[in-house]
């Protein structure tokens, strides 16, 4: 993790008793189990990780492993900060905060609903064409916005439009395919998912490089998922002219302009979204002053610009921020920081060493598959954070396929179970909301063939294709 800006004075420079390391490892294990059982224990992620962070800091203080003392600033000055502050990855926090706010305010322009409804009308109500359009839209929205927002937009539209078309029985198939595609779309850019942000920034992978390396896989996996989804769930094209005429009439009644309150704000939102993508992409260019401020700054800057439109009522946007998610990150970084001081990451790193030692082919493949399996039953964010930290501490080269194994594994593991990622959980929530009963095992049974396909494709891609791509 890149915490060079505010480095603690004696960061990681002490020996730790083995029993302390094991104690903290047990604490980390308990946190992972609680996160996996989040629904059962009725506790929000932020609370689970917050409790872990508090216990870790208390234990750290009592065992004397925490690096208390002033931190060094780049200008040579020293500054007194709470011991846990340098552990927080503020770059990641500001990217998530800024882009969430930006997307939330931009959605008020009606831009996303306009695009979604326009595509629905372009499908002429044909289910097979609708699946293709919604699938591609899911991937693009996941890439540009975030997985959860993409699933919310496309999933809720699927429920409404299939209801309108009298094709409600196909909703389960649509939602499942879209849920799986959010995790594929989440691979497209550096800011598409949190594991990408964490691993990518740790490895120093730029936005453009990330896109160039990930895009071919996303393209192939998206097409394969939609084709397979159409077959598995029997999503066929309409057969007769009469059916086509009825469906066309039904989708024609959608008014894509209904959510647009002001055309000026609509075009402003569209322009800002394009600029946002350009600025985020260029933030990793060397010599570009904004790049020095980082992607977090870019995200916050665009959020503030958009908020100017609602300058007298910004409170509603602040209250709409997913504080559970943000505090989850903050507490998680603190907990991992304490674990790092306790030597837990070093211990896990030793466990992973044999895998990495197997070489690029076997090691990379095994790392990808094990990351996917691990992230299918627990949150992929702590997994990505821990693994990124370990790879960093092992001085793995920035262009190594190991980083990509973690990125692909952490993202695609979410497709194995309904709790594997936040967006598949949203897909299941929409299913339940529309009385489509699906159990944990029912989801796994339906999603497993897709997930296996994705992981096989990803493994082959990371091991044999990625190294030949530019970047």
């Amino acid at each position: 993790m890149d915490i060079s800006l505010l480095a603690a004075s004696d960061h990681g420079a002490h020996a730790v008793e083995p029993w302390i390391t094991y104690l903290f490892t047990g604490l980390l294990g308990a946190m992972v189990v609680c996160l996996a059982l989040e629904e059962k224990i009725h506790a929000k992620k932020s609370v689970i990780v917050g409790v872990t962070a508090v216990i870790a800091l208390l234990l750290g203080a009592f065992t004397g492993i925490l690096p208390f003392g002033p931190v060094d600033l780049p200008n040579g000055h020293k500054m007194n900060l709470p011991v846990f502050i340098p552990g927080i990855e503020w770059g990641v926090v500001t990217i998530i905060l800024g882009s969430s706010l930006f997307v939330d305010v931009t959605s008020k322009s009606g831009l996303f609903t306009f695009i979604a409804i326009k595509l629905t009308k372009m499908s002429k109500g044909d289910p097979r064409r609708l699946l293709w359009f919604y699938g591609v839209m899911t991937v693009v929205f996941s890439a540009v916005l975030n997985n959860v927002t993409a699933m919310i937009i496309v999933g809720s539209l699927s429920a409404v439009s299939l209801g309108k078309l009298g094709q409600r029985e196909k909703l389960l198939g649509f939602l499942l395919v879209e849920g799986l595609l959010t995790n594929i779309g989440g691979l497209l850019t550096l800011i598409s998912s949190v594991p990408n942000i964490i691993v990518g920034t740790t490895a120093g992978i730029g936005f453009v490089t990330f896109f160039l390396k990930a895009a071919p896989y996303v393209f192939v996996a998206t097409a394969a998922t939609i084709v397979m989804g159409a077959r598995v769930f029997g999503i066929e094209s309409l057969k007769t002219d009469e059916e086509r005429a009825v469906a066309l009439g039904q989708v024609s009644s959608f008014d894509e302009r209904d959510g647009i309150e002001s055309m000026g704000f609509f075009w402003f939102g569209a322009a800002m979204l394009l600029l946002f993508i350009c600025f985020i992409a260029s933030a990793s260019f060397e010599g570009w002053p904004i790049g020095k401020l980082g992607m977090g700054f870019v995200a916050m800057m665009f959020a503030v610009i958009m908020l100017c439109k609602f300058k007298s009522s910004v409170g509603k946007f602040y209250s709409g921020i997913d504080w559970d998610l943000l505090f989850f990150f903050i507490y998680l970084f603190i907990a991992i920081y304490a674990m790092e001081q306790a030597g837990v990451l070093e211990l896990i790193g030793k466990g992973i060493e044999p895998i990495i030692g197997m070489g690029d082919i076997f090691g990379g493949g095994l790392l990808l598959v094990s990351s996917a399996v691990a992230s299918s039953v627990t949150d992929n964010i702590p997994l990505a954070a821990v693994l990124a930290n370990i790879l960093n501490s092992m001085n793995i080269a920035n262009d190594s396929g190991m980083w990509w194994s973690v990125i692909f594994g952490a993202n695609l593991g979410g497709n194995l179970t309904p709790i594997g990622s936040a967006s598949t959980l949203v897909a299941v929530t929409i299913m339940h909301k529309h009385d489509l009963k699906i159990s944990f095992m029912g989801f796994v049974k339906k999603a497993l063939p897709f997930a296996i396909l994705h992981i096989i494709l990803a493994t082959a891609y990371v091991l044999f294709v990625l190294k030949h791509l530019p970047g």
Partner: protein, 286 residues
């Protein structure tokens, strides 16, 4: 972060009800009356003149049933069953000595409107005097009333079919202000809901859907090229008094409304009070 409900609401709002014309064919009309023979032709002539617009769609067969001899409700239903009309024309309090009392429609009309699937046109009683000048001359000002206009394709299709070419079709939708106020009063007691926002947004949404539907009817009927002007009257108010006011101020010739509701024997919502009170206005009850 946009919530699931937020986006689902946005898409539900965008999925509008578009007017889809329904086929309306009036080829056979059954007139049910309690008139003595000498007056029957006059009433038939009056009905034919009033509904002359129906003849423009093709030939209409007219059949009379009844007379001054008292007849049972069952015999009217049998006549409907055997003649199978597309429209029944009648008036209130057939063979009823309460004809001068303004408190009901009479047993025959009650049963005809609810027990048959055939639309029933109720004219003012033939012996009723002091009708407004415009009444019973033609149907160039027809009003469809409902508390659920958006998506009422059949209601609008019937109303437009009975509107003379070049006439005006009023589509009226009055949301009950008393019910609305009761809900808002409940919201004022719920701390989690902002009362002013709820009041403004619920009202706007309640009125937007029927207004959008009126626009869609206007576009849909323009395609039929019958020169019918569509005028929307959508508001929040007191249904009975507001409908009455709209009818008076626009000199409505024919009021069209639903009377049947699935799962209930009684007339639909505001239809019964309107039918009882608007004794001078012809009513088409679907």
């Amino acid at each position: 972060m946009g919530s699931l409900d937020q986006f689902e609401s946005a898409f539900n709002a965008a999925a509008k009800e578009m007017f889809r014309p329904q086929p309306v064919a009036i080829g056979r009309v059954l007139i049910v009356h309690d008139l003595p023979e000498p007056l029957q032709d006059d009433f038939l002539y009056l009905a034919k003149g009033f509904l002359s617009t129906l003849e423009q769609g093709g030939k209409v067969e007219w059949e009379l049933f009844g007379g001054s001899e008292r007849f049972a409700v069952k015999s009217v239903l049998d006549a409907v069953e055997s003649y199978r009309p597309d429209l029944i024309v009648t008036y209130r309090q057939l063979h009823c000595d309460a004809v001068d009392w303004q408190f009901g429609l009479g047993a025959h009309v009650d049963v005809l409107t609810q027990a048959t699937t055939t639309p029933v046109l109720i004219l003012p009683n033939p012996d009723r005097e002091n009708l407004p000048n415009h009444m019973l001359k033609n149907t160039d000002r027809v009003m469809a009333v409902t508390d659920h206009l958006a998506g009422d394709h059949r209601l609008v299709s019937y109303a437009s079919e009975f509107t003379e070419p070049g006439g005006t079709l009023y589509l009226a939708h009055v949301e009950d202000a008393a019910v609305f106020d009761r809900y808002i009063r409940a919201i004022t007691k719920i701390p989690d809901l902002d009362t002013d926002t709820a009041r403004a947004q619920i009202k706007a949404r309640l009125l937007k859907d029927p207004n959008d539907y009126v626009e869609s009817c206007r576009a849909g009927l323009a395609v039929q090229a019958r020169g019918i002007r569509v005028d929307g009257r959508v508001k929040l108010g007191c249904r009975l008094s507001d409908y009455r006011e709209l009818i008076d101020e626009n000199e409505i010739d024919l009021l069209v409304m639903y009377t049947k509701v699935e799962d209930q024997l009684a007339m639909h919502g505001v239809a019964y009070p309107l039918a009882v009170e608007l004794r001078e206005t012809p009513l088409l009850m679907l």
